[in-house]
C-alpha cells in the first residue's frame, strides 16, 4: 500500500528541492509538487524511497552550499526561505550544517511516510 501524500506533506518532501532554489518561495503549487516529486523519484517507479530522498537532500544541500564549507548560511539560502533556517537551525548559530539538515529531512520523511513502509508516493 503506497502512502498518499497531500500537499502539506509534500511540502516537507519538496523542501530539499526548495533548498536548491528551483521554485519561488512561499507556495508550492500542485504542478511543482509533481515536478519536484518526479525529479526526486530518479528511477521513475512512482515512489520516493529513503535513498532517493537522501540523494535529493545531499544534492540540494551541496548545490546551495556555494562556498563548500559544509553549512548553509542565510545568504546562501536566500531570504525567501527564512523558514528553513528557523526550522532546521537547531543550535541557533545562524547556519544549517549537514547534520541539522539530515535530522530535519529525516524527520520530514518519517512524518510524510505515515504508514511507515519506507516509501512516499504522490496522488
Amino acid at each position: 500500500m503506497k502512502q498518499r501524500i497531500r500537499l502539506p506533506g509534500l511540502t516537507l518532501l519538496a523542501a530539499a528541492s526548495l533548498l536548491a532554489g528551483t521554485v519561488m518561495a512561499g507556495s508550492v503549487g500542485e504542478d511543482y509538487s509533481r515536478q519536484s516529486f518526479s525529479g526526486t523519484d530518479t528511477n521513475g517507479d512512482g515512489v520516493v524511497d529513503e535513498a532517493e530522498f537522501g540523494a535529493d537532500v545531499a544534492t540540494a544541500f551541496t548545490a546551495v552550499d556555494s562556498n563548500n564549507d559544509g553549512r548553509l548560511s542565510a545568504d546562501e539560502i536566500g531570504s525567501g526561505l527564512g523558514h528553513e533556517m528557523a526550522d532546521e537551525d537547531s543550535n541557533n548559530d545562524g547556519f544549517i550544517d549537514r547534520s541539522e539538515a539530515i535530522t530535519a529531512k529525516s524527520r520530514a520523511f518519517d512524518q510524510a511516510d505515515k504508514n511507515g513502509d519506507g516509501v512516499l508516493s504522490l496522488e
Binding site: 530518479t42 528511477n43 524511497d49 529513503e50 535513498a51 540523494a55 544534492t59 563548500n68 539538515a101 535530522t103
Partner: protein, 197 residues
C-alpha cells in the same frame, strides 16, 4: 700616387667602420640595426660621391650619419615597435593562459569538493536512517558493485561511486531477496551478497 689612393681608401674604410661601429653600439635592445647600418653605408657612399668622389672624409661621415639616421627611422624603429608589440602580446597571452588554467583548476577543485561533500552527506544520511556505520570506502562500494554485477543486478562500471544505476541495482537485489528496499549499500548487504556467490 697609387700609395696615396690606398691610404685614402684605407682611411675612408676606417672612418666608415668607426661610424658603423658607433651606429651598432647605439643598439638598445640587442636587435640588429640593419636599417641603421645599411643607411650609414649608403649615406657614406653618397656623401663620398657628393663630396667629390674620392677622399672627402667630412662629406662621407655626414652622409653616413644622415643615412644611419634615415635607416633607423625608416626600418629599425618600426621593427622595434613591432617586436615590442609582439612581446607585449605574448606576455598578455601567457598571462591569460595562466589565468584560464588557474580558473579551470579552481573549478575542478570545487567540483571535486562538492562531490565529496555530497558523498559524505549521503553517508551521514545512511547512518541516520539505518544506524549503519557511515562512510563506506570506495573500495567497499566497488566490491558491492562487482557482487551486484556477478549476481546479474548491475551492468555498469565498478568505479566505487554510488550513482542511480548502483542504487537501482541494490534495490532490485533487496526486492528480490525480501530485504527492506532502501537502495543503501551497507556491510550487511555486502555480506549477504557474498553469501550468494
Amino acid at each position: 700616387m697609387q700609395s696615396n689612393t690606398r691610404i685614402n681608401v684605407a682611411g675612408h674604410a676606417a672612418v666608415l667602420l668607426c661610424v658603423l661601429l658607433a651606429a651598432g653600439c647605439a643598439t638598445t635592445d640587442g636587435q640588429s640595426d640593419i636599417g641603421k647600418l645599411g643607411g650609414a653605408a649608403t649615406g657614406a657612399a653618397l656623401g663620398s660621391l657628393v663630396g667629390g668622389g674620392r677622399g672627402n672624409t667630412l662629406a662621407m661621415i655626414g652622409g653616413a650619419l644622415l643615412g644611419g639616421y634615415a635607416g633607423n627611422e625608416l626600418y629599425d624603429k618600426p621593427r622595434e615597435q613591432q617586436y615590442h608589440t609582439q612581446q607585449e602580446t605574448d606576455r598578455q597571452k601567457a598571462y591569460d593562459d595562466k589565468l584560464a588554467y588557474e580558473r579551470q583548476s579552481q573549478m575542478q577543485h570545487a567540483a571535486v569538493q562538492r562531490e565529496l561533500h555530497e558523498q559524505r552527506m549521503l553517508d551521514e544520511w545512511q547512518h541516520e536512517r539505518t544506524g549503519e556505520t557511515a562512510s563506506l570506502s570506495s573500495g567497499e562500494v566497488t566490491r558491492a558493485q562487482r557482487l551486484l554485477r556477478g549476481l546479474g543486478y548491475y551492468n555498469g562500471a565498478a568505479d566505487g561511486v554510488v550513482g542511480s544505476g548502483t542504487t537501482n541495482a541494490v534495490k532490485a537485489y533487496q526486492r528480490a531477496n525480501g530485504l527492506s528496499v532502501n537502495g543503501l549499500i551497507t556491510p550487511a548487504l555486502i555480506s549477504d551478497m557474498q553469501a550468494q556467490m
